[in-house]
Symmetry: C2
C-alpha cells in the first residue's frame, strides 16, 4: 500500500473493512453495501491508510459496543487520523453462534476474540470448555480444530462450512455494536455539503475531539458548562489520555447537531477562543432512537436512592 | 470458593490478584505487599469473590491504562459488585521486555495479550513477527515455544527461566497502568473511619457510579453542572451502557475529595434529590501529581486552534 494519496481505481468503489471475512465488521460492511464492494484488510491501520490513499472510497471499523464500551484502538485511530473522518454509522445486534468442525471430536476448548469469550462467559462456564483467545471471531471460526467450539456471527457458518452447535449463546441479549463509515476529509466535506443542499437529513450527530491546553481542576466543568450555555446536548463523553502524558487528556464527545448549525458553531468558536484545540472526527445522520425506557432492575446492585435510611446511605456512599 | 462470607484465615493476610504469576497485576500486588501475601487467582470474578467472602483481605485488579483506557471488564465488575470497594490505588510504569525460550530456534511469532501486542506494534512490525494472542502476557511468557518471542513485564524473565532478547520494546515510553486495592465494604468503612480519625491523609479521591433514572438530552449537562455548582472537580468521567439497555447509561466519575467532606456530601445529596441512584465504588488517598506540563506536540494531528484560517477551520471542523 502506498502512503501517497492516489485516485480510486476505476470500476466499482471499494469498501475496506477489518477482516478476515466473517467478522461483525464484515456484516456491517454488507449493511453499507451501496457504498462499494467489501474488501477485507488485515489491520485498522490498513483500513485508515486505504481510505487516506484513495485505494478505498470508504472504510468500516467498529467504534463502540454496548457491552464492552469504546473500541479503544479504533477510537485512538480516528483521533490520530490526519485525513480520514466518519460520515455515517451503522449499529448491529451482536449475536454469537457456536460452531464446530465438520469432523468434530470430543469438544474441550472454545475459541473466539477475548471480547467474544467475555460476552459468552456463562455458556462457556456451563459446558466446562477451556477458553482459547483468537485474533478475531472470524479467525476462530476459519481455523477451528475438531476438538474446539468457535464463536462468531451467524454468517461464519456458511462462509467456513461449519456445523451450528447452538445459536445466540451470548450472556445478554440485545448487545449492539456501532460501526463507522470512513471517508477522506475532502470527500466528506463535499458529501456533507451535498447532503445539506438536498436537505434530506433531518438531524445530525457530530463526533468531536477537544484537547484543552490548560489542564487541571475545572477543565471538564468549563467544557460541559459551555455545552449547557449553548444548548448543545452531549450524548457521550470519554476522556482519553494523550499518549505518554499522564494527567493530560483529549475529550471525545458525541453531540446532537452538525458543526455548521449556528448554536454548535458558536460553541466551537467559544471553545477555540478559550484556547482548546478542536477536531471534528465525524458528522453523520442521527439514527438513534429516542424511545429508550428506563428499567429500574438495571441499576447497579447496592446503589443508594432518594429516601434511603442513614445506614444504607453511609454503607453505599461511604460518607 | 464459597459464596457465603467467612472470616479471613488465620496467619498472614491474603492479597488476591489476577494471575498467573508474572502479570503487571502481580507487580502491583508486590507494591501493595504490606497488605498481605500475594496469591494468584484465575479470573477477575474470583478476585472479587475472594474479597467478598473474606478468603482474601485485599484484592488487586487493573482499572485503567494510559494507553488503552479503562479496563472495561474490571470497571464493570466494580460497578456491579455488591460488597467490594476500592480503598487504595497504585500506578506502575508499563514496560515490556521481549523474552525467548532457552532453546530458541528461528523466531517467527510473537505472543502476548492483545493489549501487549498493540502496545509493541512497531517493534513487532519491524521484525516481521506474526502476532499470536494470549490470555495474558504472563501466560505468553510461561508457555513460550522455541519459535516464539513472548512479551511481558521484566519479572517474567527470572520467574519462567527465559532469555531476554530486548528490553522496553513498547511503542511509547511512559505508559502507566493504575490498579485498585479492593476490600469488603464493611472493612472499608472501618479503614476509612480510622484514617479520618488519624488525619494522616491530606487529600482523597472518590470513584462514584451515578445512574440517572431520567434519560435523554441534558442529563450529562445537569450532572456536570451540579459538580460545578458545588465546586467538586471531576478528574475523569466515562459513560457505560447499562447491560442490554441501549440509550441508558451509568456514569463512572472520579472526583477530587471524599464523600464525607461537606461540599461533596452536599453534591451527593443534590443528585439523590434529583432522582439519581448513586454508589461509591472507592475512596483512596490522592497520589496523583498535579505538575503535569502540557506538551503541544501531543495534540491530535489536524486539530484546529484559535487563529486558524477560515479554510483550515472548515476543513478541520467540517462546518
Amino acid at each position: 500500500m502506498t502512503s501517497a494519496p492516489e485516485p480510486a481505481a476505476p470500476g466499482p468503489a471499494r469498501l475496506a473493512y477489518l477482516g478476515p471475512e466473517g467478522t461483525f465488521t464484515h456484516a456491517a460492511a454488507l449493511a453499507l453495501g451501496e457504498r462499494g464492494t467489501p474488501e477485507p484488510l488485515a489491520t485498522v491501520t490498513e483500513v485508515y491508510d486505504a481510505v487516506a490513499s484513495g485505494f478505498a472510497s470508504t472504510g468500516v471499523v467498529a467504534i463502540e459496543s454496548s457491552v464492552e464500551g469504546y473500541v479503544v484502538p479504533s477510537l485512538d485511530a480516528i483521533v490520530a487520523a490526519r485525513d480520514v473522518v466518519a460520515v455515517d454509522e451503522v449499529a448491529l445486534d451482536i449475536s454469537f453462534d457456536a460452531f464446530t468442525h465438520p469432523d468434530a471430536t470430543e469438544l474441550t476448548e472454545v475459541c473466539a476474540h477475548p471480547h467474544g469469550l467475555a460476552q459468552c462467559a456463562a455458556w462457556i462456564a456451563e459446558r466446562g470448555l477451556k477458553p482459547v483467545p483468537a485474533s478475531s471471531n472470524a479467525a476462530a471460526c476459519r481455523d477451528v480444530e475438531p476438538h474446539q467450539v468457535a464463536l462468531g456471527p451467524s454468517l461464519c457458518g456458511d462462509l467456513y462450512g461449519l456445523r451450528t452447535l447452538a445459536t445466540a449463546v451470548q450472556d445478554f441479549a440485545g448487545g449492539r455494536t456501532r460501526f463507522l463509515a470512513l471517508t477522506r476529509r475532502d470527500v466528506a466535506q463535499a458529501e456533507l455539503a451535498a447532503a445539506r443542499g438536498a436537505g434530506a437529513v433531518g438531524s445530525w450527530r457530530t463526533m468531536l475531539a477537544i484537547t484543552p491546553h490548560v489542564t487541571g481542576p475545572g477543565v471538564l466543568a468549563r467544557i460541559t458548562a459551555a455545552f449547557g450555555e449553548r444548548g448543545v446536548n452531549m450524548s457521550s463523553l470519554i476522556t482519553r489520555p494523550l499518549k505518554a502524558q499522564e494527567g493530560t487528556y483529549v475529550f471525545v464527545v458525541t453531540l446532537d447537531g452538525a458543526p455548521w448549525e449556528p448554536h454548535v458553531r458558536t460553541l466551537l468558536e467559544q471553545l477555540l477562543e478559550a484556547g482548546d484545540s478542536l477536531k471534528t472526527l465525524g458528522v453523520f445522520p442521527d439514527r438513534t432512537s429516542s424511545d429508550a425506557v428506563f428499567d429500574d432492575s438495571r441499576v447497579p446492585v447496592a446503589s443508594v436512592q432518594r429516601g434511603a435510611s442513614p445506614d444504607e446511605a453511609a454503607r453505599g456512599l461511604l460518607w
